[in-house]
Symmetry: C5
Subunit: 324 residues, 5 copies
Amino acid sequence: MIVDCAHYKDGKRQHDHPLEPEEAARLAKEGGAFVWLGLYEPDAKEMTAVADAFDLPELAVEDARHAHQRPKLEDYEDNRFFVVLRPARYDDDREEVDFGEIHLFIGNGYVIAVRQGEASELAPARQRLEERPDLLEMGPAAAVWAILDKVVDDYRPVVEGIETDIEEVEDDIFARRGDSTQRIYFLKREVIEFHRAVAPLLGPLEQLERGAFPQINPRLQSFFRDVADHARRADETVMSQRELLTSVLEANLALLSVRQNEVVRAISAWAAIIAVPTFLASVYGMNFEYMPELDARAGYPIAVAVMAACVIVLHRFFKRIEWL
Amino acid sequence: MIVDCAHYKDGKRQHDHPLEPEEAARLAKEGGAFVWLGLYEPDAKEMTAVADAFDLPELAVEDARHAHQRPKLEDYEDNRFFVVLRPARYDDDREEVDFGEIHLFIGNGYVIAVRQGEASELAPARQRLEERPDLLEMGPAAAVWAILDKVVDDYRPVVEGIETDIEEVEDDIFARRGDSTQRIYFLKREVIEFHRAVAPLLGPLEQLERGAFPQINPRLQSFFRDVADHARRADETVMSQRELLTSVLEANLALLSVRQNEVVRAISAWAAIIAVPTFLASVYGMNFEYMPELDARAGYPIAVAVMAACVIVLHRFFKRIEWL
Amino acid sequence: MIVDCAHYKDGKRQHDHPLEPEEAARLAKEGGAFVWLGLYEPDAKEMTAVADAFDLPELAVEDARHAHQRPKLEDYEDNRFFVVLRPARYDDDREEVDFGEIHLFIGNGYVIAVRQGEASELAPARQRLEERPDLLEMGPAAAVWAILDKVVDDYRPVVEGIETDIEEVEDDIFARRGDSTQRIYFLKREVIEFHRAVAPLLGPLEQLERGAFPQINPRLQSFFRDVADHARRADETVMSQRELLTSVLEANLALLSVRQNEVVRAISAWAAIIAVPTFLASVYGMNFEYMPELDARAGYPIAVAVMAACVIVLHRFFKRIEWL
Amino acid sequence: MIVDCAHYKDGKRQHDHPLEPEEAARLAKEGGAFVWLGLYEPDAKEMTAVADAFDLPELAVEDARHAHQRPKLEDYEDNRFFVVLRPARYDDDREEVDFGEIHLFIGNGYVIAVRQGEASELAPARQRLEERPDLLEMGPAAAVWAILDKVVDDYRPVVEGIETDIEEVEDDIFARRGDSTQRIYFLKREVIEFHRAVAPLLGPLEQLERGAFPQINPRLQSFFRDVADHARRADETVMSQRELLTSVLEANLALLSVRQNEVVRAISAWAAIIAVPTFLASVYGMNFEYMPELDARAGYPIAVAVMAACVIVLHRFFKRIEWL
Amino acid sequence: MIVDCAHYKDGKRQHDHPLEPEEAARLAKEGGAFVWLGLYEPDAKEMTAVADAFDLPELAVEDARHAHQRPKLEDYEDNRFFVVLRPARYDDDREEVDFGEIHLFIGNGYVIAVRQGEASELAPARQRLEERPDLLEMGPAAAVWAILDKVVDDYRPVVEGIETDIEEVEDDIFARRGDSTQRIYFLKREVIEFHRAVAPLLGPLEQLERGAFPQINPRLQSFFRDVADHARRADETVMSQRELLTSVLEANLALLSVRQNEVVRAISAWAAIIAVPTFLASVYGMNFEYMPELDARAGYPIAVAVMAACVIVLHRFFKRIEWL
């Protein structure tokens, strides 16, 4: 599905309505301007039409068809580039990170963004860029920056969502509320997956930072550095979250052990509290001929009183040594 | 055993039937064409015949004889190369990865593929290449690419098979079905082994990507980059699976601890439920002369009722604190 | 809020009172001197005024607005630099590290320090530098050094505070005082966070050490090396603290296991001590017609004595095998 | 002790009997040939004599005297080299790796091999080389290759021996035969030690592969590459064995936990099975005046039958929930 | 405190008695000779006097004052160097590594060694060097080598002391003697600390090996390589000790679990052994009218015999299944 297709010249959008790909391809070949074509989960026919119109690199098109690529930046002859991005969105209810996929085809005079999955909204990036004619004038690289900036900025709420969940888990385990093992495990799974989406992006971003696009404006280059820096920050945070979660899992295990100790103690205390009077009862259940207590009138009440006293004394004792 | 041996010229296979190695070696020396000879677990005699006909490097031939090599790319004088690959296939029933071994001897005008083990089928690679005359024209390098592409593409189902098994294990441990320790351990073993097959391949693939073959077609080079990228993706996935499995093992340990806590609590609750009425029975088993309850007509039924009441109250209590 | 703004010339402060930013910007453009402007959590208006007056790089200003940046050193055209620092302060009561943030804008003739958070006091750095006219004469780089030196020197008490807490935790767990799991975990969390504040600083510091500032005085360069060295030391210490805390957590788990073993033994010993006399009592509670002991006058006292003897012997036995 | 000392010229051994060191040193100085002197645990006098005759580097000789060096390759002026190797042999009974030590002094026209420990047999290497005049002609480098090849080839049975033991341990722990903790630990110890012997060798081998010997024959260089490749393979295998053993230790811990769970359940089931009839017996041991069952003729047999029924029902119940 | 101060010329010590620093500084400025000044924990005044006399670099002097530096090598203008070393000594009784600190100031014609802490004896290094005029002639670098060699050689007994303690701990835990958790933990602490003293030294030593001192004698360079090699060996050993100790801690945990299993089994066996006869006694304590056994003359002895038989059978049974 074609989401939007615009022709930018002298820092301004030329048409309000989306262009047809063929028209866009023709305009892309004119100098001093560029077209930005956005597609959302295109079917094979649409993709082929676009690939033919813009003469996109064969392997890149095939990659874009299959999805599930790792983030990368590939250059082809004639200043053409293929970029794969993995945008992310945190679903706080399911405590899961949803990943989308964006494939960018960049060439002289055009940027084509093919989006997969919901977590890959790009409209805000386009809108934001259209408000900055000074950047728009810099050509396709500006669009690439706008998209990268959007994707990397969107990592921040993911990282923060995970952070919040980690803090909740910490509260839970140290307040001893239920068993958090499963939750910790799945948070760690998300963190590992997220790292896998961000880390391979750092290499390409550093390439851009150092100037992988040959005819890039030096001012724009510092914009790419800014994006790379934010991605590094996201990755570093996620790495320490991974380490934290490992520690949480270990702390959890230790706390389970502590709790088991406490349970065993409490149980044993109660067992002792009931075993002692049971023993006393057994004693007076013995059938000896001559047991003077048995004949005493006050024998029974006294025995019961002694049992009660034992229970009270033991209970206090176990309270004091904190087994109860 | 010679599986197939074909002579390719101008992007087309010249004969339908397999050539003899000697004939192939002769044709290999002619310019503008190449032969692709496929052998499956050749015996010493066959191997020697081929090595002599094509003048293969001595050490490489010896390596091919012994199998169990690590993936590598070695260059010899006169533009000759020796490549070792470890194709893999996932046996989902046994949850084991089967590894084969492929040795490629590459020289001016020839590619010789020696396969070991079942997990090393190459016929589809040859078939696919024969359908692309534009690639076939590029000479031996195209055959190397076709083989590498097949081997690396076959890693994907392995990685996905392991992924599925990990998810099954996760379901099992969090649903507390049986003990998954052994399964987790052997999955991790497979993952470690698989990483060992893929990781050493990344270096050679990057060499190819950067142009280790001197007279390689630049278009083909981006095909090698594509293969390298898929191998990197397989390896990264496997690395995070390894980390996941470590976490699964830890989570499993924590869950075992949780389960033990629960068992100990349930047992203790039942012990308490039976200990209290037993104690009451002991009390009324005492032989005191004056125990008014004993003489009461309703004494026995009341005692039994009190015991039952204790059992019910304790049972409810333990239900409420979730020990039962 | 403008904290201080001074004009330094020939190694001496020119005015006692703080300058206005506009005045400072004018003076900065004169040669042979520099201004050092300190701001504390400036509001948007103040920040814009300063950015306009000094023509600060757009992206850097935006970063400074958002805070929560990673430590970094960025160079912009015209010898302008942007440095982000994360000063730290250890709050021993809460056992937490408080982080502040300092953004430095450096250009020809000016250093602007924007501070965020309490843990970012810079007045002592300025004071110390003003006492060293020989350094002040070296221009903005000297101010940068003074600030870096202050920030990195302040890491030392943090590291030492954590060290002390680790030693306390060690004492606690080996003396078996309470459960230290939570404390160990949160110490580890602080250590991970602190590493994240210091580690990214090492790269920029090494850049400075090797001479990132083009017109730097070689003598000052060895001052930067000194700072880099202290930062490396802080980071190395923190890394080994992290490893220690992992070991503490493991040792803690082992000790919990040891303690559980001891508790189980003690409980079992007491259970045995009470089970044996209870059994004896049961025996004499049997209703056999012919039990000679029952009729003996001394039967009861002897039975009680035997029970007492059992208790004493068992108690001694369990003491000897160290179960009690 | 001088084991053998031969003079090789034009690819052939010149004498059958071992030469005296002095004679060998004289021959070494002639061009177009080399001597290979093998010593086994020489005493100080022998070593000094050889060092003087061949003018060996002082520090290298001192190192050779002290043994317990790490594998390394050092070059001295005048094309002299000093190589330390750590050959290994697996003692399957003790499950220990025995390490020897070989010091090679290489110079123009001579190779001196000083062996320490039993696990350093070199005779097969010499024999194998003497059968290849084409290699012998290449001078001292060929002897160095022959020795390296022997040492590295001997790593393979070590690695395989450890592999077999790991598989045995896996069988043991998953079949729950005894406690394998100690065996796992000592296997890991061996693996760590073995890695320490192999890993430092990789650097020097790669130096040789890239041509550290200046006047080396390019054909021989591919022989060194082959050795390096085998060493890398041994090291990679050992690294994954180390990781496997860590996982085995963790799996072992989980299985111990599982087993404890099972034991606790079985014990508790039996406790319940006996507690219920005991309770019933206590009930009928009560001394109430009016307990109609007590007077019934069939009372006793019925009571016993009820107890038996309880035991059977409980036993079945615990069988069904798999606690027994 | 000035320990010794000597003037070396033409490989010989010129005076027996220690020189005054000022005299030494004057002699240092003469060519073809050097002075070696040794200070032990100098007070501020002494240090200032020496710093002034030799014109030592300001920052280095300040570092030397504060101690607790990381090992490093810094070069200053005019061929001046500042080296920090952390000598170590193993106190086997306390199982602790004592660290000292040595600061070396090196310049044209002088070496000044400032020692802190007891574990920093340098007299043997000086003595050993004075016995080698051939090395003494090489100037200050020879003194630096002698000191480095002494410090690094002293690491060996530390490493060996730790090795011995690890073996003792292994014996203890596998022979199940007491709880070694605390000892293992503190050994690991020492190992981490020791690594922190040695590892940062490797960089500077490799710089020296590659020729950081510009006018160094090539023969001396191979002496520095020897020292670097010993330091690398110490560090590698310590790294694998660290890994071993981690494994020991894990094995310890597994053994604790095994031991707990055993204790629980033994306890349960004894509980069963006493529960069965207690149950029998309860049965015969029932008050049924018609219990034929009760009236039998042999009833009581038979009942006791049956109880004894139960005990014996159960005991044998538990012995056989190895619970006792």
